[in-house]
C-alpha cells in the first residue's frame, strides 16, 4: 500500500507531509506529477506550496496537470484524497471539491495558529474527533477565503459536507475568529464522497510534537485507517 504525495513544481509541504504520515504509520512516497500515480496507490495527498507560482490563480495550473485526471478517477472510486492548503486550492480548481479559495479578505498572507471546529465527526478524516471539538492548527496562506454561491453553500451544509469552520477558543465561529473572510467561516469541505477532503489549515504541521502541537494527528491517523479499508 502506498499513499502518493503528489509533488508539483513549487510544492513545498511534500516532505512535511511525508514525515507526518510516516509518523502515523502510513507508507507514503512523494510522486512527481509527470510520473503519474503508482499502480498500488491506496491514498493521495495534494500537499501545500505555491505550485507554478500561483500564476493565474492559486492551484489553477496544477489542477490541469494530467495526473489530476487520475486523481479524480481515484477519488470517484473512493480512494482517500486529502488536499491541504495549495492542495485544497488545487482540489477546488480541479473540481474535486466545490467552491474556490481566493484572496484573503485582509489582502495579506496570514501565517498563524487558528482554531477550527469539527463540524462533522462522521467522516474518515474526523472520526478521531468529536463533533464540536475545537482544534488548533496552523495556517499559512494568502488565498484561503472560501467562496461559493449561497445555494451551493446551503447544499454543502445540509449534506454535512462542511468539515471544519474557523472559530474562537470556545468553538464560536465568529467574524473575529475568521482569519481570511471565508463564507460561513468554512475552513475545509468534503468532496462528492466523504473520502475526499480539502482544508486550508495544515494538519501535517500539527502532528509531530517537536514542531508544535499535535491536534492534526487524529486527522492523519484517520487517513491511515482509510487507506487500509
Amino acid at each position: 500500500m502506498t499513499v502518493a504525495i503528489v509533488r508539483f513544481g513549487g510544492s513545498n509541504c511534500d516532505r512535511d507531509a511525508l514525515r507526518a504520515l510516516d509518523d502515523v504509520g502510513v507508507d507514503a512516497e512523494i510522486v512527481w506529477h509527470e510520473d503519474g500515480l503508482p499502480e498500488d496507490v491506496t491514498g493521495i495527498m495534494l500537499p501545500g506550496g505555491f505550485s507554478y507560482g500561483d500564476y493565474l490563480r492559486a492551484g489553477a495550473m496544477a489542477a490541469h496537470s494530467p495526473i489530476m485526471n487520475d486523481v479524480r478517477d481515484a477519488a470517484a472510486d473512493g480512494t482517500p484524497v486529502l488536499g491541504v492548503c495549495n492542495g485544497a486550492q488545487i482540489g477546488c480548481e480541479s473540481g474535486l471539491t466545490e467552491g474556490a479559495f481566493t484572496t484573503n479578505a485582509s489582502a495579506r498572507f496570514q501565517c498563524e495558529h487558528v482554531n477550527v471546529r469539527v463540524e462533522n465527526a462522521d467522516t474518515p478524516w474526523t472520526s478521531g474527533y468529536e463533533e464540536g471539538d475545537v482544534v488548533s492548527l496552523p495556517i499559512a496562506h494568502g488565498e484561503g477565503r472560501y467562496e461559493i454561491d449561497d445555494d451551493r453553500l446551503t447544499q454543502l451544509e445540509t449534506s454535512e459536507r462542511v468539515l471544519f469552520r474557523y472559530c474562537d477558543e470556545n468553538g464560536d465561529p465568529s467574524v473575529d475568529a475568521n482569519p481570511n473572510g471565508s463564507k460561513h467561516n468554512v475552513a475545509g469541505v468534503l468532496g462528492e464522497r466523504d473520502t475526499t477532503a480539502v482544508l486550508m489549515p495544515h494538519p501535517e504541521r500539527a502532528t509531530l510534537a517537536d514542531v508544535g502541537g499535535t491536534d492534526g494527528r487524529p486527522l492523519l491517523r484517520g487517513f491511515a485507517r482509510a487507506t487500509t479499508q
Partner: protein, 84 residues
C-alpha cells in the same frame, strides 16, 4: 484562415469581495483622488488563426471556461477583432 485577437476579460462576479481592488482604492484615496468605487479585472489577449470570427470566439470562450476564469467566482466576456 484569418488572424484574430480574442480579448478575454475576467472579473469577479458581482458581490464577491475583491480585497486587492479595495486596497488599491484606499491607496488612490490616500493620494487625494476622489472616487466612488474601483473594480479590477484580468484581460487576456489571445492571438489565434481561425476560419471565422465565430470560430475564434468559440475557442476563446472555451479557454475562458476551462482555465482563464473560475466559474465559481468569475464572470467573463470575449471580444474578437481581426489582427493585422
Amino acid at each position: 484562415m484569418t488572424a484574430y485577437t480574442a480579448t478575454v476579460t475576467v472579473r469577479l462576479k458581482h458581490g464577491v469581495l475583491d480585497p486587492e481592488a479595495e486596497t488599491t482604492q484606499q491607496a488612490l484615496e490616500r493620494l487625494g483622488f476622489e472616487l466612488e468605487d474601483l473594480r479590477a479585472s484580468d484581460r487576456f489577449e489571445v492571438d489565434l488563426d481561425a476560419e471565422t470570427e465565430d470560430d475564434a470566439r468559440e475557442r476563446a470562450t472555451e479557454m475562458a471556461e476551462r482555465l482563464l476564469a473560475n466559474p465559481t467566482i468569475h464572470d467573463y466576456d470575449v471580444a474578437v477583432d481581426p489582427r493585422d
